[in-house]
């Protein structure tokens, strides 16, 4: 479970995140929604400890401080930029991150094989990542994020640049992880995708939470027929400052 309370982050005079609070429970997909620059990515950066908040608290599975080493072991992250090592094979990329998360020996190899199977990477597992398609890169990056069996998964714009079959595969996988009790936080500005995937939505505009709840509740609260309309109404049609 991820609990975020009163999170602030400024870059110079620009407030990137301005008092964001929300709870992402286990076994649910929580969507962070907002236009480009609304503060989604900065919020995720703070949750996984690579961006230091100016104020606020983050608890992961009840433990404070997202920057602590132990807390990081509880989180898997799929970043927008997949950042694979192109000269290493898919399996080597995954194995490297498993090792960095403290796995070794037979346990490591078992986990690597498990995520290779889970994401159907068998045919490309021993090929260098240099020639991978966007979809293949996403799958390897996701396998890398899951290799240490984190209880919490952060996904930053995971469907960017993916074709429809790969998006469907991702949806199926996320549904599977949700059923296993994983806490999933999913950032996106594609509201159709959010409606399809998320149990709860946290809408951000200019670094602030403008609405939170189930997609249907947000629509009813805003008096809108769709999440798109609700978003436009609640954010006054504005994005962010990024």
């Amino acid at each position: 479970m991820i609990e975020v309370e009163g999170l602030y982050k400024r870059y110079g005079a620009v407030p990137a995140v301005d008092g964001v609070s929300f709870v992402a429970p286990d076994g649910k997909v929580t969507g962070l929604v907002g236009a480009n620059g609304a503060g989604k990515t900065t919020t995720l950066g703070m949750i996984c400890g690579v961006v230091k908040p100016d104020a606020g608290t983050i608890r992961i599975d009840g433990a404070a401080s997202a920057t602590s080493i132990d807390t990081r072991r509880r989180v898997g992250v799929l970043h927008d930029h997949k950042g694979l090592y192109s000269r290493l094979t898919a399996r080597e990329n995954i194995r490297y991150f498993g090792q960095l998360h403290g796995l070794s020996g037979a346990a490591l190899e078992d986990r690597v094989q498990a995520v290779v199977s889970l994401l159907a990477l068998g045919s490309i597992a021993d090929r260098p990542a240099a020639g991978f398609s966007q979809g293949e890169r996403m799958k390897v990056a996701l396998a890398r994020a899951l290799v240490h069996e984190p209880g919490n998964l952060l996904l930053d714009e995971p469907t960017n640049g993916l074709d429809i079959p790969t998006v469907r595969t991702l949806r199926t996988l996320l549904a599977d992880l949700r059923a296993r009790g994983t806490c999933i936080v999913f950032s996106s500005h594609v509201l159709e995708e959010v409606s399809a995937l998320c149990d709860t939505v946290v809408m951000l505009a200019r670094g602030r939470v403008v609405a939170a709840g189930r997609p249907g509740e947000i629509c009813r609260g805003a008096g809108s027929a769709s999440l798109d309309d609700a978003f436009m109404r609640l954010s006054n049609g504005e994005g962010g400052s990024e």
Partner: protein, 262 residues
């Protein structure tokens, strides 16, 4: 359990052994010095009794530069290259402290640097053996201690400086430009001391200056391995720690993760 820095180091070594372009470039840089020294030894101005001294003088400058240049491309790739390709962010999100990430990368860069230095020194020894065998025999012990206790620690220092400078750079191009400026240091020090040798003093244990002083003193009859040479080697290796810790602090900064796009 394997330490985090050795995991990072092993990955970087495997990864960069597959980077044929960087390896070829490193080997070419390492062998450039011996090739030039050999050409000079054949030139009309390189003939005569002064030839071995000229060769040794040139050799010392090229070896000094080689200690820095050898793994420069790899240092750029492991730091600013990772930043540019955005693979640094997932790495920093693992439970590995930035200090261990930096130490692992430094170990790998140092290994490639030592490989390049070995190429360079071996090339120079071959050229000396061919063109001035008596000089090589007379100074074999000096040259060995100079390379092992002087130049090898300098590779460690060079790698840490390169890691730090490349860590500050957002792109590989920016890192290449900055490191080209850093490279002037060994070149200027080497060239200056060839033409204006300095007498012994506290500066003889200052990295880069000390390496040249050791060679000069040895050629003037000082013992090949002395307390001075050992202290110089230790001081040079210890000096590598500062830039490494500074690089670890750089990796801890918000902007290095380049996560926000504000």
């Amino acid at each position: 359990m394997t330490s985090a820095y050795s995991i990072v180091a092993r990955k970087e070594i495997v990864d960069h052994f597959r980077d044929r372009r960087s390896l070829t470039s490193a080997a070419a840089h390492a062998l450039m010095g011996p090739a030039i020294v050999m050409l000079v030894s054949f030139s009309p101005k390189g003939q005569g009794q002064a030839m071995p001294d000229i060769m040794l003088g040139m050799m010392s400058v090229f070896a000094l530069v080689s200690a820095f240049v050898g793994a420069m491309n790899i240092a750029i790739d492991v730091m600013s290259g990772e930043r540019e390709r955005r693979s640094l962010v997932p790495l920093l999100m693992t439970p590995v402290p930035p200090r261990d990430v930096v130490i692992g990368k430094w170990m790998a860069v140092s290994l490639f640097g030592l490989g390049a230095l070995t190429f360079n020194v071996a090339g120079l020894v071959i050229v000396l053996a061919w063109r001035a065998p008596a000089t090589l025999v007379a100074h074999a012990a000096l040259l060995a201690s100079w390379a092992i206790l002087g130049l090898a620690p300098l590779v460690l220092l060079g790698a840490s400086l390169e890691i730090f400078v490349a860590g500050l750079s957002r792109t590989m191009k920016e890192a290449g430009t900055s490191l080209t400026l850093v490279l002037f240091a060994p070149m200027i020090v080497g060239m200056f001391l060839v033409f204006f040798p300095v007498p012994d003093g506290w500066w003889s244990v200052v990295p880069m200056v000390g390496q040249q002083v050791v060679l000069d003193a040895g050629l003037r009859g000082a013992p090949a391995v002395s307390l001075h040479v050992v202290v110089l080697g230790l001081v040079t290796a210890v000096c590598a720690w500062g830039p490494l810790m500074a690089a670890a602090r750089v990796l801890g900064r918000d902007d290095v993760a380049a996560w926000p796009t504000v």
